[in-house]
Symmetry: C2
Subunit: 117 residues, 2 copies
DNA sequence: TTCGATATATAGAGAGACGATATACAGAGT
DNA sequence: ACTCTGTATATCGTCTCTCTATATATCGAA
């Protein structure tokens, strides 16, 4: 009985996407604010370069996990993103999945040879 | 006071490297055996395609974390890799680092807005 | 008026996993 | 004898994703 295996590349991508989604959990924000908040809240551990952030935002919007709407605030245009219901479920489900995977990973790294299933 | 930030891409790479190193913790193995063991021990969650495995092995050898030596066993040539002292330290240190990072990540994903430092 | 912060966006470079392909030997089945 | 599967190592091209650089534009402060 083989379970679905782990996608290493997708994992890195997922981490970034989840950081964005979680930043939007409590309130809608525009991209720049998301980057600022993630950096502040993680004490600089996690951060987004804008060349990384905006493609992620567009990807998440295309996937229907967030919804963006343009706002004009003092002549400065902002695209404010809100978490959709689907995005909220995704965040919750994927967070659990990440937790599960890293638990198994760390258990394997520390006790090789013992099946982690 | 800014700490060094997290390299998302490097994280995925590190996971694969650590899986290889941990497979070698108890005894030297050749590449094919490492792939088999990692897959078995993780119940199929983590696995290596050979197009992924061999470059990693060469990379780790270049970095001095493992040392390979050719062995001839019944006409079948195998390259047996052993963990170096440096590799052992790396495995131990990086495992702690991964643990630290995923703890902070999960804490952030579950409770956004609270500094995790 | 120049600099830095705010704000969004894309194109090009680089890194690394993955699938395909190649080589080669052993053992089992037909 | 032949073929297929498993063992065993290796590389190349493609794909995907991050990252750097660049571009555009507004605002406030020095």
């Amino acid at each position: 009985m083989r379970e679905t295996d782990f996608d290493v590349q997708g994992f890195a991508r997922d981490i970034n996407e989840l950081l964005v989604l979680s930043a939007l959990r409590d309130e809608p924000k525009h991209g720049y604010q998301i980057a600022l908040d993630v950096e502040t809240d993680s004490n600089g551990l996690f951060r987004f370069r804008h060349g990384t952030l905006y493609p992620i935002l567009h990807r998440l919007e295309d996937a229907g996990l967030i919804r963006g709407s343009w706002a004009d605030e003092g002549g400065r245009r902002k695209k404010v993103y809100a978490l959709t219901e689907r995005g909220r479920r995704h965040l919750s489900g994927e967070t659990s999945r990440v937790h599960e995977i890293v638990s198994r990973l760390l258990s394997l790294l520390r006790h090789p040879g013992e099946a982690t299933a």
